[in-house]
Symmetry: C2
Subunit: 462 residues, 2 copies
């Protein structure tokens, strides 16, 4: 321990350093997901908080074979620096992944990045001046917020309903922002199996957003980590494919179709923007791990990637169904939630008087974790919602986790009833059938800016 | 190929995107080293340009064993997200490395990063507002410049002589900057075996810089990738150890003592700054590759790391001697250069009328590459200097590379003589003895802001 380091926590010393911090750090807050990691790493905690894929399903034998082949064929290269934009063979794997979702791309137009997160950072670095507007879904991926805040963007969030971002509200906002003289540089969206809402942007809306992008002169960052993790229904065409890559910057990642621990993602962008992203990447970390890039290449050479995506999709579909059944069983009638057709997340909305950040503190005492909805907004909305993940826990844990959440929610509702003297809207009458359709129950979707939860449906049905 | 993408290179479309680019991108330029990578990857090119370690000396068998053990013991974990600040076991390896250079650190004070480059980026993100001053050596590590420019820092460079950064000039500059009302937030330095000059900051100067940091209230970013690659002489105490970590942020990396392809570095910083770095890292890439972190841990468990550092040090010492001998043999008497006691680089200075950026174009036609000195400055200095690396090529390549550089330099000198009608200062009379001492030959060190090259000495002697 270096002398004096711990002393850094004393107020005068904090003050000394505070003077030196950049203005942007005032807006950069830690995301709850990240802060929770140390708690949720404890084995007794059931975490429905993170977006963790099930890496235990990856065969250790395949892992060993991949690195055995790198050791014998490319050891020195795997340990060496690579070009900033990425290795040619890794880009060919990326072309293959994009092709599986109906996109055509020239490997030359791809930059391999240190995970998908880095793409958000580098795109913001290339485009955003302080005060520029970035439009995002409300709720949005919580991890995107600190990236945009790093460049002092003003984030404007547009409501989401069961067909994704509301384009009517978007058009209104764009008009208002124009009237205010604000520069809108970027619209950030996770259009397919959205994080955190689980909803998918309808194709008609996709076309409308592209029209608006051309009309108002902004770019779209399409973040598509989950597109291949579809559990039912027909594929939706990515914005990038609809647009041909003129207004759309595409973000892909191996995190959900292979593994996040290798930190490998990519970006495809129009040439003038891509050149700036490339320089930004030099500044950020010189180049992406050659080890990880060659691992992906060796893995793809074995032709296993599609069957692994099928394997995890099967696992996640079952887990999603288990989660939806458990929600129907354990959450009170006041709760509503979305029913995703793919991806990793369900968005649950509780009565307005429940603050899910407070609820989380209570839930953690019961050894269960989720992401409070507030984390997905910059403006205080989402306080009575939560994001639940279903990819990272097994079915028994999901059931038990939701049971515990149900208990703390019931407790809060009962407490509210006692404090206000109001009877609850509908008491739970025993265990409901988890497969019962309850089409009449919808959330408070008319509240401006509030996510409209989709109708509660039986899992497996749409 | 998506329709319209190639069209992005048409002027009206470039204009369309140019409107959307952030102001900072105007100052962000690509480093020559990175741009050169595609050329220098061609097998016929001898590149003395990059800072590439000799990864071919790493035994593939050890590589295979490491990943075999990860496969059997920690496969799912290696593929999973990790905490933003890094894995505990990796931090223990970092403590061991720092201890080998006489530094004590609590693993809790460490953040594991995506290479050392990311530390520069994250420290700048945490500290630098547009217009803030970052002081750096002149010449400085070329890769640091785009990182500071990403945050619109004003970079002020202080001359370097054979004892490192000139503290007298630093004190003067600080006084002038204070008088101008400029905020100096950070001094960035590579004090030991500096990149690119190869010089080491004297201990007395280290103490003086720490005094100045306290007096003027700025922090120091000590970038120490090469400290353990010492080929002669006694170790110098790192600034971090002298200071106890109050004013000094420490940057370490596994790139030179193990491998850059795994992108693994770290930062130790005072708590209030470290917290902001951690949030910045969440925004930048969520967490560092778990795969790489567990690789380092498995490698350290085998106790091989110190013997590998000894092995590469032995290789690099020989290559340095080969480079210095070749310079004495092939460069004309007008050239001077530094004699590093460790690290990877020699800084060569040619007559003022030679522009090394132009020379590089000529050298590339002879299939040899170096970094033009201009890349290590923000203000146009360094035009007649170049950085030569001696770690990435074998001895035969180094000799041949320098021979080719010598030829193009001779050509330029002869051309200059013809054009100006001036006889050259001293004609080369046959091959010089590479071990001859020539103590009287010094560079134009009195030129303000110019690097003072050290006396040309015989390799192996100090």
């Amino acid at each position: 321990m270096s002398g004096g380091r711990r002393g850094g926590s004393l107020p005068p010393q904090v003050e000394r350093y505070a003077r030196l911090l950049a203005r942007r750090t005032q807006a950069m807050r830690s995301t709850a997901m990240r802060d929770l990691m140390s708690i949720t790493e404890r084995p007794e905690v059931i975490s429905l908080a993170g977006g963790l894929p099930d890496t235990a399903s990856f065969p250790p034998r395949v892992f060993a074979e991949i690195f055995e082949s790198i050791a014998s064929e490319a050891c020195a290269r795997a340990l060496q620096y690579g070009p900033t934009e990425g290795l040619a063979e890794t880009k060919r794997c990326i072309r293959e992944v994009m092709s599986a979702e109906g996109m055509r791309v020239d490997p030359q137009d791809v930059i391999v990045t240190t995970g998908g997160q880095q793409v958000i950072d580098l795109v913001a670095r290339a485009l955003v001046d302080p005060g520029d507007v970035v439009i995002a879904e409300g709720p949005t991926y919580p991890g995107a917020i600190p990236a945009f805040c790093s460049y002092e963007a003003e984030i404007v969030q547009i409501s989401v309903d069961d067909e994704g971002l509301r384009v009517d509200e978007l058009a209104e906002q764009l008009e208002q922002l124009r009237a205010l003289g604000k520069r809108v540089k970027l619209l950030y969206t996770v259009p397919t199996f959205q994080n955190p809402a689980g909803v998918t942007l309808a194709t008609g809306r996709r076309r409308r957003i592209l029209e608006l992008a051309r009309e108002y002169g902004f770019l779209i960052l399409e973040d598509n980590p989950y597109g291949l993790l579809r559990y039912e229904g027909e594929p939706t065409t990515p914005l990038f494919a609809l647009d041909g890559g003129e207004q759309v910057i595409y973000l892909g990642t191996f995190s959900k179709i292979l593994a996040p621990g290798i930190r490998l993602g990519w970006v495809v962008a129009p040439t003038p923007v891509r050149e700036k992203i490339n320089i930004g990447k030099q500044a950020a970390d010189l180049c992406t791990s050659t080890l990880s890039q060659l691992m992906v290449h060796a893995y793809f050479e074995r032709q296993r990637w599609r069957s692994y995506v099928e394997l995890v999709s099967t696992i996640y579909r079952r887990r999603r169904d288990t989660l939806l059944n458990a929600l129907a069983e354990h959450l009170p009638p006041e709760a509503t939630w979305t029913v995703p057709r793919g991806g990793l997340f369900v968005w649950v909305t509780l009565p307005d008087y429940i603050d899910t950040t407070d609820l989380l503190a209570r839930a953690l005492r019961e050894n269960v974790a989720f992401v409070p909805g507030e984390q997905a907004f910059v403006d205080g909305r989402g306080k009575s919602s939560m994001r639940l993940n279903f990819s990272g826990c097994d079915e028994q844990q999901i059931r038990e986790g939701v049971r515990r959440i149900g208990e703390v929610v019931e407790e809060q509702i009962a407490l509210y009833g006692t404090l206000t003297g109001q009877p609850r809207h509908g008491a739970r009458s025993g265990r409901r059938e988890s497969t019962a359709k309850e089409p009449g129950r919808e959330g408070a979707g008319s509240e401006p800016g509030r996510v409209v939860p989709m109708r509660r449906r039986a899992p497996g049905h749409r």
